[in-house]
């Protein structure tokens, strides 16, 4: 059962082969056994999850179930869920029991999915390893001494270890795609504006976007069908007609299903920055795509090298503004002792935030301060425009861009924790996609020394269904995505 696709689980629930209570109990049991080593979940509430599962079973019995009804889903602890502790990986929100549901949570509730638990993450999603969490690092199920990636590392570790059939994440600079790559999962960041950010704790609002982490592109499509849609409560939510993101997946399999597809290979993705063992796997995946009928064309993203620098101005600037709300007044942590109001702010924030979050708030405060705004913030926004223009030019020559997701496989816990710049550079292949607001997906493409590597597929705006199909056809021809870490089968 734990190797079933979401569609197969839905089938098993619909045919009453298994109940949602049984299924939820099975996963709660796996969490109880494996989470102590992995630390993938911050909060689990068996009683509440099982109550939801019972309601789902009633709905299944009534015959008004949807495809996700009764399926347990783990949610990144960045999504507010009513009456659930919602920490965002921070001491600042260590006592924050949300009074309301995020749009993403509401949509899963309406679909009848079971909230299986809240997963670990880098504090306020600031990190690429899940090591900045106040609740301790998450281990990678493929090698317990290595990071699962981040910031959605808890969600990735949970799905990879089969502690949940699927999970949600958020991606501001690669936080879904990079952990997907490091944990052998499929993870998609949709076009900016496709999924509502309402109730998703803000990091960098012009870049943040939610998405699914799952064991296949087909599973991602079903999750995206639930998550996507207009929401008037998010001022950047896009009012577009509903679409079925799995619509292309049902076409009959053939030997050359991608005939006519033009894949762009940007020279900047294939330079020195990537480890040779990851590059070898990416090249093999490209060869597989040629077998499937696709042709490849060289493209260039000349401004991409500047994406990390521009990102570390724009994201901290937006974060310093967004995180100003955490002041110890209306919710969250308040220091136990202080002199006056300003001192209460300063001490509450000093004690409530971790080192990485403070660093980014300070960077953001500085680049937005009087006299530096033009040199840093405006310059970064101009470079953001150049990066988006590069992609627009590339998509005149191809339909999908392919390259590595991350320059290496999972690194060791602690290896980069003391060196922020090294950690930032590990997102070199993912950040430009957020700056441009494009959709991207990472899918498994093989193993180096027993550790998974990810292939990144980037599409033009609103081409999620196409991207998912391009990923799906590769997964029909390969079995990398079906591999399960030892001890978790």
């Amino acid at each position: 059962m734990i190797e079933f696709s979401l569609a197969e689980i839905a089938q098993a629930l619909a045919s009453r082969e298994i109940s949602s209570v049984e299924l939820t109990g099975l996963y709660l049991d796996r969490i109880a056994r494996h989470n102590p080593q992995l630390n993938a979940f911050i909060t689990v509430n068996a009683e509440r999850s099982l109550a939801q599962a019972r309601a789902a079973d009633d709905r299944l019995a009534r015959g008004d179930a949807q495809v996700l009804t009764g399926i347990p889903i783990a949610h990144k602890d960045i999504f507010c869920a009513r009456d659930w502790l919602t920490t965002c990986g921070s001491k600042m929100l260590g006592n924050f029991v949300s009074p309301y549901d995020a749009a993403v949570i509401s949509r899963f509730h309406e679909a009848g999915a079971v909230l299986l638990g809240k997963t670990n993450m880098d504090e306020f999603a600031m990190g690429s390893s899940t090591e900045t969490s106040f609740y301790g690092p998450t281990a990678n199920p493929w090698a317990l001494d290595r990071v699962p990636g981040g910031s959605s590392g808890g969600s990735a570790a949970a799905v990879a270890a089969r502690l949940a059939p699927a999970a949600t994440g958020t991606d501001t600079g690669g936080s879904i795609r990079q952990p997907a790559a490091l944990c052998n999962l499929s993870g998609m960041k949709p076009t900016y504006g496709v999924i509502s950010r309402y109730g998703m704790i803000a990091f960098a609002s012009s870049l943040d976007q939610a998405g699914p982490l799952a064991r296949s592109a087909a599973d991602c499509a079903l999750l995206l069908n639930c998550m996507a849609g207009f929401d008037e409560r998010d001022s950047t939510s896009l009012d577009r007609p509903r679409e079925d993101f799995s619509r292309e997946l049902t076409a009959a399999a053939s030997s050359r299903p991608l005939a006519g597809l033009r894949i762009g290979l940007p020279e900047q993705f294939f330079g020195d920055g990537c480890s040779p063992e990851v590059m070898q796997l990416v090249e093999a995946a490209i060869a597989e795509y040629r077998n499937l009928g696709a042709e490849t064309v060289a493209v260039s993203l000349p401004s991409m090298q500047l994406s990390v620098a521009a990102y570390y101005v724009i994201a901290p600037a937006e974060a310093s503004s967004n995180l100003a709300r955490f002041d110890g007044v209306r919710y969250g942590y308040r220091a136990p002792a202080y002199d006056d109001l300003t001192d209460m702010y300063c001490k509450s924030r000093a004690q409530g935030f971790g080192a990485e979050v403070k660093r980014r708030i300070l960077i953001g405060t500085y680049v937005l301060s009087h006299g530096y705004y033009d040199a840093y913030y405006l310059q970064a926004q101009r470079i953001r425009r150049l990066i988006a223009s590069d992609f627009a030019e590339a998509f005149r020559q191809c339909e999908v861009i392919i390259g590595p997701t991350s320059p290496s496989t999972a690194f060791r816990l602690g290896e980069k924790a003391a060196d922020p710049v090294q950690m930032y550079l590990s997102d070199i292949y993912t950040i430009a996609v957020n700056l441009a607001g494009l959709p991207g997906i990472s899918i498994p493409c093989g193993f180096a020394a027993g550790l998974p590597a990810g292939l990144q597929l980037i599409g033009n705006y609103f081409t999620e269904a196409r991207l998912l199909n391009v990923a799906h056809r590769y997964q029909q021809a390969t079995d990398w995505h079906l591999q399960c870490p030892a001890g978790h089968a």
């Binding site: 012009s206 870049l207 570390y312 000093a350 300070l362 040199a375 425009r385």
Partner: protein, 127 residues
């Protein structure tokens, strides 16, 4: 930092401190000072002690040397991009959307560090 470029026509320290006194070496090192770290931390309302400020200073300077690579690019005439989608701000009617306001207030204040009679309590601001 890059005081010679685009700092609104003012020099490095003038803009941050309003001071007219600076030394040539400040331009050569192009890095933050400990005083600036304290100043930024105060603007951000984050208390930092001396040891933390020193540690932070080194890390921020490394990060800014990465950020500075941006300055090599000529972006004259490039329109700044604030957002991924060119959107107009949606407006909504200015009316009450939540009906049970007292219950909502109670729910939201139940998680406040200190609240009383529907009010959030903070240290006395006006004597």
């Amino acid at each position: 930092m890059a005081p010679s470029r685009g700092c609104g026509g003012k020099n490095f320290y003038d803009t941050l401190y309003g001071s007219l006194v600076y030394h040539l070496s400040d331009f050569v090192t192009m890095s933050l000072t400990l005083e600036q770290v304290h100043r930024i931390a105060h603007l951000a309302r984050i208390e930092v002690d001396e040891a933390e400020a020193r540690r932070t200073l080194g890390q921020l300077n490394e990060i800014f040397s990465l950020i500075e690579t941006m300055q090599a690019v000529d972006t004259q005439g490039v329109e700044p991009m604030a957002h991924a989608q060119e959107l107009a701000q949606r407006l909504r009617p200015d009316c009450v959307t939540e009906n049970d306001q007292l219950a909502l207030r109670a729910a939201f204040q139940a998680i406040a560090p200190e609240a009383e009679a529907g009010l959030y309590l903070v240290p006395k601001v006006i004597e």
